[in-house]
Symmetry: C2
Subunit: 215 residues, 2 copies
């Protein structure tokens, strides 16, 4: 599909469109107007029309959007029609939680391996995927066409392990370590900094309490 | 502290400033110029000066910023000088991972309870906090001054449980369920939608591959 340069703000909203359209599909809804979608998503209808116009616009005036078509097309834009092999690096609680999340597989993300430094975890499997030792990681990436590594290890080791991942030719890192990774431009990093999210929550509680103490 | 209306973009960056300043403190750095901080954080120096000016500006021309002072002041702005009691709702893998993350406690977030519907989890404890049954949740919130609930349950139950949390007087919800919550304006919601983050990663892989296929 031909796409122009799309703003990061629109891209950030696409997964949310995908999720809402998926829910509509599950509910058996075939068509939806930008007005009805706007009520559900709490975006303005004009914002929705503007966003979806970025992709050539799938709506027909007066008929609304074809939910299934739009869901499929946004899925394509998000790259979800392709399979992506991934590994999890760090078999602690968070690594195990992500390994158990079978929903990722429905979206084309296939868990191929789990790695840890802890030898007591050797022999453990999660959803039939065995935990392997970190020393095997680089070869495994090269031999199994691994595109994505999920980093769920402490920040102290994350930077070194990221270097190993880059050396092994990884294409993307989904980073849960509490540190920013310095990787070459051709490696994609998406970070989830849970502590920062919790701090935003804390900030909003403080502001709310302050506002109400003033009154 | 007197603060004017601060833009959401600045607020989103504050936890990251807090993290970098914390690292500098750990490394024994006492003062830092906006130029040096800009190199580390990959923001422009003028962006940094502009951001920090929102809080009255802690820098002195030619002397740089006092790292400890700035770290403390940003911590105050983020509400981290207050203790926040929280519960985790959903003792699955993700709930357990978050319950085990002791780092939150250093930032003032105190885990008081864990709740689940699964009776086989009764009697289990994580870091000395017992798993309780969901039927006890509302009373527990009221009796233990709980401010924050962390929702790590499937989306099918999240909306109903969010209603119970609101009824019990919860102030904020840290939502990991894959659904947007409709709560009254006085309840703060911060959502972590992991699937959406993974889709952004997938999108960036697709765009990268497309760009390089063109050449």
């Amino acid at each position: 599909m031909e796409t122009r340069k799309i703003s990061q703000a629109v891209i950030r909203r696409l997964p949310r469109y995908y999720r809402y359209l998926g829910e509509l599909l599950e509910d058996g809804v075939e068509r939806i107007s930008s007005n009805d979608l706007s009520k559900r998503m709490k975006l303005t209808a004009s914002q929705i029309r503007q966003d979806l116009n970025n992709f050539g616009g799938f709506g027909q005036q007066g008929y609304g959007y074809n939910v299934k078509y739009l869901h499929t097309e946004i899925g394509k834009i998000l790259g979800l029609e392709n399979k992506h092999n991934f590994i999890i690096v760090g078999a602690g609680n968070l690594g195990q939680a992500l390994a158990n999340y079978s929903h990722f597989e429905n979206q084309g993300f296939i868990l191929k391996g789990i790695f840890d430094v802890n030898p007591t975890l050797r022999g453990m499997s999660i959803r039939d995927v065995p935990v392997r030792m970190m020393s095997e990681m680089k070869d495994f990436i090269k031999e199994n066409n691994i595109e994505i590594a999920v980093l769920t290890i402490p920040k102290e080791c994350a930077i070194d392990v990221a270097k190993d991942l880059v050396d092994a030719g990884i294409q993307a890192i989904w980073n849960f370590a509490h540190v920013d990774l310095n990787v070459p431009d051709n490696v994609i990093v998406e970070s989830v900094h849970l502590s920062e999210s919790l701090m935003r929550l804390s900030y909003n509680i403080s502001r709310y309490n302050e506002d109400h103490a003033d009154k």
